[in-house]
Amino acid sequence: MPHRLEVTLKPELFDAEGETLRRKAWDYFGIRLDTVRTVSVVTIDADLTPEQLDLIRREVFTNPVTQMSSYEPLPVPFDWTVWIGFRPGVRDNPGSTGVEAVEDILGIQLAPGENLYTSKRYCLAGKELSGDDARKIAEDLLANDIIQQWKVFQAADWNPAEGIGIIIPKVKLDHTPTVSTIPIDSDQALQAVSDERNLALNPNDIPTIRRYFLRDSVQEQRRRVGLSDPTDLELEYISQARSDHCNHNTFRGLFHYTDPMTGQAEDVDSLFKTCIEAPTLKLQSENDWVVSVLWDNAGIGRFDDDHYYVITGETHNSPSNMEAYGGAITGIVGVYRDPLGTGKGARLLMGGYGYCVGPRDYSGDLQPHLHPRRLLDGVIEGVRDGGNKSGIPTTFGHILFHPGYLGKCLVFVTAVGLMPARVGDAPADQKKTSAGDLIIMCGGRVGKDGIHGVTASSEIFSENTPAGHVQIGDPYTQKKMHDFLLEARDEGLIQFITDNGGGGLSSSIGESAQFSNGCVVDLEKVPLKYEGLDQWEIWVSESQERMTVAVRPEDVDRFMALSRKHAVESTVIGHYTDSGKLHIRYNGETCAYVDLDFLESGFPQWEFEAEWLPPAARGLREPVIGEPASYADLLLDMLARPNVSSKEWVPRQYDHEVQGGSVIKPMVGVDRDVPSDAAVIRPVLSSPRGLAFSQALLPTYSAVDAYHMTACAIDEALRRVIAVGGDCDHVGGVDNFCWPNIQYHPEKNPDGKFKAAQLVRACRALRDVCLAYGIPLLSGKDSMYVDGNLAGRYGISHKVSAPETIQFSAISRVPDIAHCTTMDVKVAGDLVYLLGITRDELGGSEYYDHLGYVGRQVPEVRPETFQPLYRCLQTAIADSLTASVRGIYRGGLAVHAALAALAGGLGLSLDLAKVPLEEALRDDKVLFSESTGRFLVTVAPDRRQAFEAALDGHAVGCIGVVTEAPRMVIRGTRGEPLVDLALDDLKTAWKAPFGDLV
């Protein structure tokens, strides 16, 4: 018999969660609540005695100091109460830890089918509260229909004996697993099946697939294992492996690039090969610190003789767009499996984040699935829980608002790990499977999660079908697995390891079997969350927190013993062979038998038309604007722009220091609230070496030219790591492309050719700038369909495409962290230097955007003059000649000088006449130009000579002095006063948009 336990804080205690909800209801919707009290509900669907129930109530679920609880509904007063619970099949983390605790304290095992389910009841009190208000709070603040169900009750209708009733979100499928055979009589027939079953087979691939299965020799082999036409599982496997996500068909495609203005035409055969692989291999051959690139789950660089670092970056856009919290937590926890599955396994060191969303205060006509404000809240919280509960510091990140992301948000997650250089005598970066190795699946169980990605269908909302297409990551299960696998690695038990993410077992086993050249898998051995999955569903399910590991038979007992010690589920589900075949069975019956080299053969290349129109041909021009009369107001307003202003509330809720190696935090300065240029950690606590990490993205420049958008992002990420003490000769990059659809369609995507040209240009910039700076691409990913169709007024839907976006991440080895610097000015009397030339480059700038313009003269990267300057600065930093170093990024000199002053709590007096220029420039342009390649540096007066000598020959201007008076004073190029503002006023403006958020 099920039991429902309610737990709440004692009435005299402050309810912080309730208070947060009360505040949000007012801030977001103007709904006035007097009080909100939270009741936790645990529904126990298990056969327990009254004594057992009382014991777990007291010892597990109720804190005697702070809480009260009862198996009857608690009489917490309310005008309306809102109940929120998960839909069936949605990951309920507290439910499963509750099961662990109950089993432990009672010394029992719950019977199959018995379970615990958690949910919450919010007791809302408010004199004017209406039912619509309560429903609004349920629907638009608390619950997301995709994963949750909710109910509201008015006080008058509440039955104090029954409460919310007993609600058990148990999955009941009542389905017998079946393998179906797919007829392939014609291309049309197979296409029809593909459409019907949501296989997403590319029409161009269909003839190749049919040819294979119709081949006599193939048919003969298949007959011997009892197969004829392809099975659903086989087509799912092929579909997964051929997907753009797994196979990068776009980046491996053939681009017909033309520029009608110049008549230039060029075919680019594989952007991946020409712009990513070739330059990276060249740089690898020139730099012995580049250990492993281009093949594994993440790239590997040498940290020191005994340690390698591992880095990769991912996006999780579509799931986050549908269910922000679930998508983001699944994203961060998922990317953490990549370093764990790199080489023989790496320990996670840190994570980074990048969120691109619509304006937080959006009030237009378009109706995104989630309002940007709610979406951002959920994404922030998802990464918070995913990172914090993994014990991995989230050391760096950024947020960018742009209406182009209303259609689909971007959620970038980056992961850095550390591995020993060797495991025993073997290099830790290398791994392979061999015939005879056992295939072991570790970690979570398999359900209908993530099958075919995010496809919301109507059946999802029925009572007992699992809402599996959006998942909720489980950092607890993964942390246990992480600790277990590293111990197994150190004992030499792991031959090969990879994660189960996109494509599930289909992808992890399909790819790992390529090394040994074959495998046999017995799908009935795969542990399931619930019965009733078809074989193909087990094979492609993307249920999270799983790794696939190859273990030699002689090591399996030890491996399993360690697994038990760490309370991790591990199961032998097959073995690797050298048969050349992917052989999948279920209870002895073959359900797939495919030649592993089939995927390598004869699939047609994707093709794209790419048509470039230069900015002038698109009508872009510089705006015709006069000089500002009130620079002070302008500067204050620039600091209050959402993309410039303080976002302290985000890194403050992220554990950015766990693991004890924090050197440069995400925020620095006397008040610890100004974003630093980059993060630095000490990954090996006994070593003075560090790793500097930064990210940059500048999508507004794509409105002019994605070439410069890319180039500037790389340059910014590079300058960021140099500013804190990084090493120009050891910088690795991670490129994350997020692009709107580039496939031309006359009605649905009329500018597809232009977007394709932008992609070609971005890749060329990646190649050019990385080669020029010597930055190998240690890792990279692409997400190619960042578009959304949003309903608007009159029922008209509007396609919203994201601006072409690259997030570029840089990682650099810091030789000795004792020389690291921060951007806060340090001492009054220090001299202020501007390094690099300021140009008339405001196209796509924050200043122009503030005034409603795009402009045309976008910043350009000039590595041939920039790089020598960077090297000199690096030497100056290492020689302790600098007191503070700040790169000049979005918003320009005025914004970043103000931030350096705010961080130092000291004033600045600046003279624009001393700014190094190429040609005369108006003061507003000097202040807000986003010319790249520049730094703001402060230097103690007694180091002036040495510093100037170190930078000799470069464009360097001593533009002012740090002052004791807490004011920002700027004189114009003609000597007249432009700005004289108190730091307090600057800070107030800078914190105005988001300063109240916690």
């Binding site: 597990v60 100091v65 830890t97 509960k389 600790d483 890194p651 403050r652 554990d655 766990v658």
Partner: protein, 273 residues
């Protein structure tokens, strides 16, 4: 006592500060061993072999039913007697963050009258309503019997928690106060009491309580992370301090133990006698 002082650092089930806690203990002169909770339960590791037991930070069992609650349930159910024997044999216990939450749920704190089983204080959700990572200033009660805080007065340490608000009945606070068991309080940067003011008191703890010890001073729990200040470069203002040092002709980082490591050093020194 001969040989190195041995310290056991618990790991597993979502705990996560074990590496740096072990590192800080080693810097303090101990031999630190990371031991999985299940190894203790299975008997593969024995508390008897150690003189210091560290309950470290993390999210044990995801903190899903109250921070530290399920860890306490598991330990009490499976090794409760061993734990009490350890405490009663005058050895040292430190609980940091999730470890502090576990100690109060085990009842090892406040340990009035030798009662190491009763739960009478709690750490609940921060008043600010969210997880928070920041640095705080602590004022140490220099008259406290606490072994770990000896010789310390005003120090900075990082906090990183969502459930750090210390709550209990007024009479319990009075009793803690009377016996100087409130070893560490949140303070303003100059060491003056935080007086409940956010963010100096980051979570709304009653009486600015950041850490308490048992009446013997040998069991200590605190929300801030001493192991998070294991190196001078952990401090958020270290580059400012380094700049000053360099202007004075000194190396950028000072020699000597950080206040965080000093807490562990105090424990090791006491045991070394």
């Amino acid at each position: 006592m001969t040989g190195k002082i041995r310290a056991l650092v618990l790991t597993g089930f979502g705990l996560n500060c074990d590496l740096e806690t072990a590192h800080a203990l080693e810097l303090a002169g101990a031999e630190a061993v990371r031991v999985h909770i299940n190894a203790l339960i299975d008997g593969d590791a024995r508390l008897d072999d150690y003189q210091i037991l560290a309950f470290g930070g993390g999210f044990s069992w995801g903190d899903d039913h109250g921070a530290g609650v399920l860890q306490a349930v598991r330990l009490r159910t499976n090794v409760g007697d061993q734990l009490r024997a350890f405490v009663e044999s005058q050895r040292l216990v430190i609980g940091i963050c999730n470890g502090f939450q576990t100690l109060v749920n085990l009842g090892l704190l406040p340990g009035f009258d030798g009662d190491y089983q009763t739960r009478s204080v709690a750490l609940t959700f921060n008043d600010c309503g969210n997880f928070r990572d920041d640095w705080v200033t602590l004022k140490i009660d220099t008259r406290s019997p606490c072994v770990f805080t000896k010789g310390l007065d005003v120090i900075d340490l990082p906090i990183r928690h969502g459930e750090g608000k210390f709550v209990t009945a007024p009479e319990v606070i009075a009793r803690l106060e009377a016996h100087h068991q409130i070893a560490a309080r949140y303070a303003r940067p100059d060491g003056a009491p935080a007086g409940g003011a956010f963010p100096h008191n980051p979570n709304g703890s009653l009486d600015d309580i950041a850490g308490v010890c048992d009446p013997t001073g040998r069991v200590f729990g605190l929300m801030p992370h001493p192991e998070g200040f294991n190196h001078w470069s952990n401090h958020p203002l270290w580059t400012r301090q380094a700049d000053t040092r360099k202007r004075n002709g000194q190396s950028s980082l000072p020699a000597g133990l950080t206040p965080g490591v000093q807490m562990f050093r105090n424990a090791v020194a006491l045991l070394q006698g």
